[in-house]
Amino acid sequence: MSLAATLHERFANWALRTRPPEPTPIVLRQRRVYVLPTRAGLAFAVALLVMLIASINYNLGLGHALVFLLAGLGVVAILHTFRNLVGMTVDTGRADPVFAGETAHFGLLLHAVGDRRRIRVIVPDCSRTEVDIEAGATVEARVGVPALRRGWLALPRVTLETSYPLGLVRSWSYVAPGMRCLVYPQPAAEAPPLPAVAGDAGGRRFNHRGSEDFAGLRGHQPADSPCHVAWKTAARLDASAPLMTKQFAGAHGEILWIDWDAAPADDVETRLSILARWLLDAAAQGQTWGLRLPRGTLPPASGDPHLHACLKALALHEAG
């Protein structure tokens, strides 16, 4: 880490004054809002100096007034920019789980009373977004952070920055809300096919070949997975026709066990990836499945909540 980066890190930690994570909602008080001129602001100051010298040299009384007015404008700009952040409330919003390798989006709820302002939300080296907050409104800023590893991804320290309205000064503050996002293991790109379906009680066994066992169509319901919509049928009909959902034979009665030991891999992460792929495939086929892990078992069920519970179990496997 370079010297400048080290110093910046120290400054930011000092500036926050509490050990992250901070309790939310965070109200930005004036002691943690900083102001410095931007490069444009420095250029403005130099320009004013030149204009002042010209006014003195040519004895322009009105020129003096113009320069002093613009100097006053610069000072007022400092206050306006400062005011953008002071008193602003930062609260945590949604952070939907993502798969490793994707970008996790953290929602930060920014609320401000007073006039309109424009705030940049910055995670160093990751993301830079800009939000306009109208008077008295609450706006969600979505901060993207690359999710590299499975498990909990904590939102790093966020810089809230603004140079609104004139761009002459930059005002900023650091916030470190205790916000985290679940990162599922990355699904394996090439995984063995789903294991065989185990007969439940009656001993009836047959190989289930997944989606080939098409059983028929029924009317689409909003909760149905988009994967099961009969898109080809929909394409043949006209736009006003209702969507149909494909039903599969395997969706009824048989239970698929997705087993830690069944995954053909040596190391934990590869195994987790294969399991994640199987879970997604099983959900896509509308199966009912259970998950067996060394630490415990998730009883068979189907649907999105079950899928997410299973993926969460994988994500947190042997983590912390």
Binding site: Q30, A40, A43, F44, A47, V50, M51, I53, A54, S55, I56, N57, Y58, N59, L60, G61, L62, G63, H64, A65, L66, V67, F68, L69, L70, A71, G72, L73, V75, V76, A77, L79, H80, F82, R83, V86, G87, V113, G114, R116, R118, R120, R128, T129, E130, V131, D132, V139, E140, A141, R142, S163, Y164, P165, L166, G167
Partner: protein
């Protein structure tokens, strides 16, 4: 929400174009025509590019354009340095930058250039109307700066924001303007072209030269007398003294200068006054005849003309005192008197007339009396439009046309005096002036320009003779308008039927004078006087800086208080609701953080049935005010209910 991008959208481009146009407009009349036209063309091209969503021209095309533009400026002005070429280069820069501007950085450069150009427009005019125009232009430019940072904003709101910020900057402007230690410029030598366009008296006089000046209503100088002003017929403001005559033109002779008065003064009453002289690009200062105390830094010439150290290129103020009735020069040197009697050949009739006087009269004084009688007798016409005169101009004026203006009278009079052997010379300057009833200043305009004569009499010295006054005493007793025949050309404001206009003009002039004295003429001297008048002891730059810092800190404190105060302000309904909740909390029923207002009210109602109705009513009103549609009376209703709420 959007990713941060620095490219400008069309609305921002329109803003930049607008502020460029606003900055260029006041300069256009002062630039060479080709440059104004080229800048306008560049702006029009930019407008077309924005309108048709075309990309800006590439950078190297623009760079190539710079070269011929700079060459053109050099060809126009013969130099790259100085005020006018500097402004021309800024204009070129702005025009090209307009075409280029593609991202925020370019936009910022454009805005800065606009501020520079607005300052440079003050080279040409600093009047009150220009100041009003400047205010509007600064507001628009600042709004453009705000638009660069905020694309989606409506123009009206940007203008309002810029206006608000500028209004907030006014206290700082006033403090800095009054207290920033002023340095008297120039810091370095001004380029020669700095002050090229000013009118006023010159150091030569030929027929028609003063007549053309008199048609101008422009201010020459303003005078504030310490006491009662002298009578109007004593208001002879001495300017260049013209001794040399070549048959058509009168010119100034060489003179010596000194800081000592070259004459003794009588014990007559002294008039002290302050003159605010408009720039005229010549070194002479004007004072009543004859100065008794000369202003600091000025000198007095051997022909009693007051001179400053250099050309008066900006409005200047000086204090001077005069005594009227003095007749200096009793011991005038022989060489000066010889020059004051020399004449070119020609004008035989005038010379003949003078010779007859010389033959009749014994003394110079007697000859003078003859000449004055001649000027009273001849039926002259006082006019601004005299017929053109030929080779023997004096003869033609005295005997043929007999129409002329003060320079004809003074010139002819001095000519005949010299022809009779009496030393005489022409004095130019201003005669009279008008008291502005609004602010009490005596205003002397170019239309008061005048020429009179001075005759040297042995034992007495130089005696002022006004030949115009001999023929047309109204000119001196009243003004030009009284002396000129009805229907003749007159300066607009001297026309008798335009008195209402003159009243307005007087008000305006008083305003402009206040502006000149306090804004444009706020010099180091005036600053010290003003601050001393406010009670500041020995106002030097140290005490001024200290006061400046203290006052700026105070203003900043107030502004910061405003900035932070607004942050924590709750709306009225919320304040009332919290007051009611605080009263309940004191009775042991605090609101839980997770409770909404209705839930809280229900819980309170359950615990304390006797106040159930009032707390339900208050909660319902509050909910309506905060989250729903409330009518106008709801807030007052809530206020009275909370006031009466005693749990």
């Amino acid at each position: 929400m959007k990713p941060v991008s620095s490219a400008l959208d069309p609305v921002q481009c329109w803003w930049l174009l607008g502020c460029g146009a606003v900055a260029l407009a006041p300069l256009a009349p002062h630039l060479p025509f080709w440059l104004s036209a080229a800048a306008a063309a560049a702006l029009a091209l930019r407008a077309w590019l924005i309108h048709s969503h075309q990309p800006a021209p590439s950078r190297w095309v623009l760079s190539l354009t710079v070269v011929p533009a700079v060459v053109a400026v050099v060809t126009q002005y013969r130099t790259l340095f100085g005020q006018n070429p500097g402004v021309a280069l800024l204009v070129i820069l702005l025009a090209l930058k307009q075409l280029e501007s593609g991202d925020r950085r370019d936009a910022f450069v454009v805005v800065l250039l606009c501020y520079f150009l607005l300052l440079s427009s003050l080279f040409y005019s600093q009047s009150i109307p220009s100041a009003l125009g400047l205010t509007a232009a600064v507001t628009i430019t600042t709004a453009a700066l705000a638009a660069v940072g905020d694309s989606g904003q409506r123009p009206a709101r940007l203008l309002r924001l810029a206006g608000l910020m500028l209004v907030q900057a006014i206290p700082l402007l006033l403090i800095l303007f009054l207290l920033f230690p002023r340095v008297s410029g120039p810091l370095w030598g001004l380029p020669r072209d700095a002050f090229s366009a000013q009118s006023g008296l010159s150091d030569t006089m030929s027929p028609g030269s003063i007549g053309s000046l008199v048609l101008s209503d422009a201010m020459a100088f303003r005078v504030r007398f310490a006491g009662k002003p002298p009578p109007r017929n004593a208001l002879y403001w001495r300017g260049p003294v013209l001794t040399l005559y070549d048959g058509t033109t009168w010119r100034a002779a060489r003179f010596r200068v000194s800081q000592q008065l070259p004459y003794g003064q009588p014990d007559s009453r002294e008039f002290a006054y302050e003159v605010t002289l408009e720039p005229h690009n010549k070194p002479w200062l004007f004072a009543l005849e004859f100065p008794d105390r000369i202003p600091a830094g000025a000198v007095i010439a051997s022909d009693y003309q007051l001179l400053s150290a250099g050309p008066v290129v900006q409005r200047m103020r000086y204090d001077v005192a005069s005594r009227t009735g003095g007749v200096p020069g009793a011991d005038e040197s022989w060489s000066v008197l010889r020059l004051a009697t020399s004449l070119p050949p020609g004008n035989p009739r005038a010379v003949g007339l003078a010779h007859t006087w010389r033959r009749h009269g014994e003394s110079d004084a007697a000859i003078l009396a003859e000449a004055l009688a001649f000027f009273r007798r001849q039926r002259f016409t006082y006019t601004l439009d005299p017929p053109a005169l030929g080779k023997d101009a004096v003869d033609e004026f005295l005997f043929d046309t007999r129409q002329g203006f003060c320079e004809h009278f003074a010139g002819a009079f001095v000519f005949v005096m010299r022809a009779a052997g009496v030393p005489a010379r022409v004095v130019t300057g201003y005669q009279g002036g008008e008291i502005n009833p609004i602010d009490g200043y005596l205003e002397v305009r170019q239309s008061d320009a005048h020429a009179w004569a001075e005759v040297w009499l042995a034992g007495r010295g130089w005696v002022r003779i006004d030949p115009t006054a001999q023929s047309f005493p109204q000119r001196i007793e009243q003004n030009l308008a009284a002396a000129i025949p009805a229907g003749d050309r007159l300066p607009l404001l001297m026309r008798p039927d335009w008195s209402w206009l003159r009243g307005m003009r007087q008000r305006w002039d008083a305003l402009a004078n206040g502006w000149n004295q306090w804004v444009l003429g706020y010099t180091p001297q005036r600053q010290r006087d003003f601050l001393a008048g406010l009670g500041m002891k020995s106002p030097d730059w140290r005490s001024m800086t200290a006061a400046l810092t203290a006052l700026c800190a105070a203003v900043l404190l107030v502004l910061t208080g405003w900035a932070l105060h607004r942050r924590h302000r709750l709306d009225a309904a919320q304040t009332l609701w919290l007051r009611a909740a605080a009263r309940l909390a004191r009775r042991g029923l605090p609101r839980h953080p997770w409770e909404g207002c209705r839930d809280y009210a229900e819980r309170v109602a359950g615990d304390r049935p006797e106040i159930a109705a009032s707390i339900r009513e208050i909660a319902a009103l509050y909910a309506r005010l905060r989250y729903g549609r409330a009518d106008a009376g709801a807030l007052d209703d809530l206020r009275s209910r909370v006031a009466a709420f005693r749990p």
